[in-house]
Amino acid sequence: MTTPVQSSPRDTYLRLHQTIASVVQGQETNIRRLLAALAGGGHVLLDDFPGTGKTTLAKVLAKALTARFTRIQFTPDLLPSDILGVAIFNQKSADFEFHEGPVFTNILLADEINRASPRTQSALLEAMAEAQVSVEGERRALPELFFVIATQNPVEFRGTYPLPEAQMDRFALQLELGYLPPEVETELLGAQMREHPLERVRPCATVDDILALRRAVQEVEISAELRRYIVDLVAATRKTAGVRLGASPRASLALMKSSQALALFDGLGWVTPEQIQEMAVPTLAHRLVLDPQAQFSGLNQRTMVQDILRRVPVPV
């Protein structure tokens, strides 16, 4: 039997997974994918109905890490400077002093991101893509571990601003938690009768652990054949009827990195086709823009990608 390439980073993953799963019940697969995005260096968008545990998932991840965590509640009157920071004139030093905004953190929870104006949403673009912000003409680097978990609610449209395609592309994954099966939800009620399990969460990993995990993910091998398979999948999204805008090369990168992370989580030093197929829908679906006709006929991005997975031949 093969031995894992690095045991320590995988242990980090297992500890984190166990800790988060103890609070967010019935979401093992989504926790695994969330951590894959964290380990792969991407950001995550949680898109689901209110009360399905999006914010809890983000908070428990922040609490499980010994890392700086900030939360921004997005509202229509939120300004870019409320996120990035602002330079204030110090009369004593007769100079402008920069006061860092909440974006200077390790884990950023952008709650209900689609309630802010596009201008404010765009303030996050540079931070998410390049791990830096430009304020007052000066570039300021963000911490080495900078992970954005954004949430949004798909059913409310009044007073919201749908994320532009460019911003959607910045998110490595979009996860939908969905409602729990009745038996799991019953267990959840029992677990939270007296106190929220979140209160009991203690940090189980440090920033250095996560950085080590990321480095280990970069060491996971992926063959040229599977890299081509990823490219074929992404290219198929651009040729599929009903899709007006397909996935970008950034999507190929996100799919590769998150598949590498999954391989590491599975204790493998190389990527298998199964891991790519597992991550295809979360990494590609939210980047597609469909035709109105396709939407009218009941298709959505997820079914489109699933259909592509059923069409593109896979190496064995």
């Binding site: 093969t2 009827a241 009903g242 190389w270 035709d291 006709q293 059923r310 190496p315």
Partner: protein, 686 residues
Amino acid sequence: MKILQSLRTRPLLVPALALWGWQTELLPWALLMGGLLELPRWVRPRLDIPVADFNRLWNFSTLLFLGVGLYLFLAREGLSSVGNMVSSETPGGRLDGLRVISQTALVFLRWLPFVLFPFVLAFSWSRLEALPWTTFSLYARAKASRNEESDWSTLQLQPQHPYLVLVLFASLAATGNPQGYLAAFVGVVAVALWPWRNPRFAWWQQLGLLALILGLAYPTQRGLSQLREAWQNLEGRLLQTAGAGNMDQFRTVTALGAVGQIKQSGGIVLRIRPADTQAPGLLREAAFNRFRGRAWSSSHRDFAAVGTATEGDVWRVVAGRRVTQVFTVSRYTSGGQAPLALPGSLLAVRDLPLSQIETNYLASARIQDGPTLVQYQVEAGEGGGFDGPVEAEDTQLETLAPADVEVITEVAGQLGLAGLKPEAAIETVERFFASRFEYSLWQRRLPTTTNGSPLAVFLRQTRSGHCEYYATATVLLLRAAGVPTRYVVGFSPEARGEEWIARCRDAHAWCLAWVAGRWRDVDTTPGSWREREWAQAGWWEGISDLISEIWFRFSVWRQTGGNWQLVVFAVAALVLSWLAWRQLRGSRWRRSRPPTQERPVGPPPPGLDSEVFELIRHWERRLDPRQPPETLTTWIRRLGLFERMDSAALAEAVLLHQRLRFDPRGLPPVERERLRELVRRLRLTS
């Protein structure tokens, strides 16, 4: 959408097909079909038919559709009905054709459930939920293959829904059992819509409404059929009176330039096959004796039937004369009517496939209500012809315009025609035109609002023109000399191999002069006219001649009783079979092709020597083939192999195989050997 959902959840095809079978008296078949279509609701096995095969199956169904349509069209006299609709002179004939066509369409509609049944059956037993729109449209398929976007390309369709509608329509087209049909039809539709009735009303109110609808529908239906009967009676009376008026006689007038107009075409009008090598000579179609303005007309417009054929199909014009010339003429008719091209010395006409011929005093002959192509044999000889004797009109110059009278008198004076014997006068006129005139194709449009005489222009100024001018001038000059004359139009055939043909270009006009007690052809047009006309022939004339010849032979074959419907059907069957064969061939070819993955460039991927591929081939042969987008693990799980054999060994083998294939660092020798051993073990147990 709700209706569609209701169709999906209710086995409505059985009652709909039963309704259709009841009407078409095919009830056992219909029940069997309905049972086969709805059975998959209760049984689990399904066929794994890919969409590509449905595309081919749809192509088959389309070919079947065309084949059945063609068969019905031909078997039910479709072509001749369309021909009647187009060519019939009477509204009644056209309506009859229309009626046959509509009855054929109804029969076709009645049979359509059979035609599309294989396709719907295959879909019912397949795993697919719906078919993409591209299956049903070649155009959409072509667009999809070019990766072009289309508004309809993402639409999906369940074939049972349109099939249900089709079956109901087909049941409407049948008229087997009208009693109770309406109630059954409304019942099927009501069952389909019942779950979506208005909840504000109780069930008995809904049923009452249904009963009310039926109660009103039956009297309405009876009223409609009475109305239809009344209309049919009225239609019959209208048709008795419609079309009773005589049609205009043709060829009673010809203006100068009319023949010239005809001459501009090279189309073949007459085909003449002589019994020997003798030239048929001039064949006349109409004769005229009155010139007024610039047009020739006939003083005898009335045609009379020559009587019935004797001795079989012989119309004998002159009896007791020796036949010196025999030839067969073929020509197409226009709506059944045509002038008969005949020689001046006609003795008899044979083999005309109709009951009568009409002639007039000036020896013009014609047929009415003939077939599309007529063929008749002409016998000619000395003393033949049926021209009426000389009458006053044949010498008349008074009807001419003053300008024409003036020029004719002037030229006749110059030639000294007055007092000459007829033969001498003819000779003088012939010499006059031969020596001083030339043939030209010039056909300047003549002024119609002035008093200018085209004849005066021809005789005095241009001295050049085509046959109509020569013939008119000859007729009038000879009349000035006291010779009775008539103006004749017809054809001067040209030789082509063993047969003779007369093209439009060979249309000709000449003079008929009364000499020594009989009518004689006098043609003063210079002999060069044929060469000049030939020079006008287009390069395409050979091609059009070939097509014309083929069509002519086909028409003759049809006329002589050839089963043309069989030939059309055979050709269509060949074409459809070829298309079907292409589908089959395409199917095999596509299946044998590897998946549409592009061949990777560069060195072959590692691990292709893995022994697991042997296992894969083995399982593919014995169990179910792996679909190209299935990973190895997914496929093995689908086959249930983890439960059927040593799952630990299988999982380890798969993992080692994947490492061999997808880890660029490869597999260490020990683990490579382990993989071989595992495969050997699995091979033995599987």
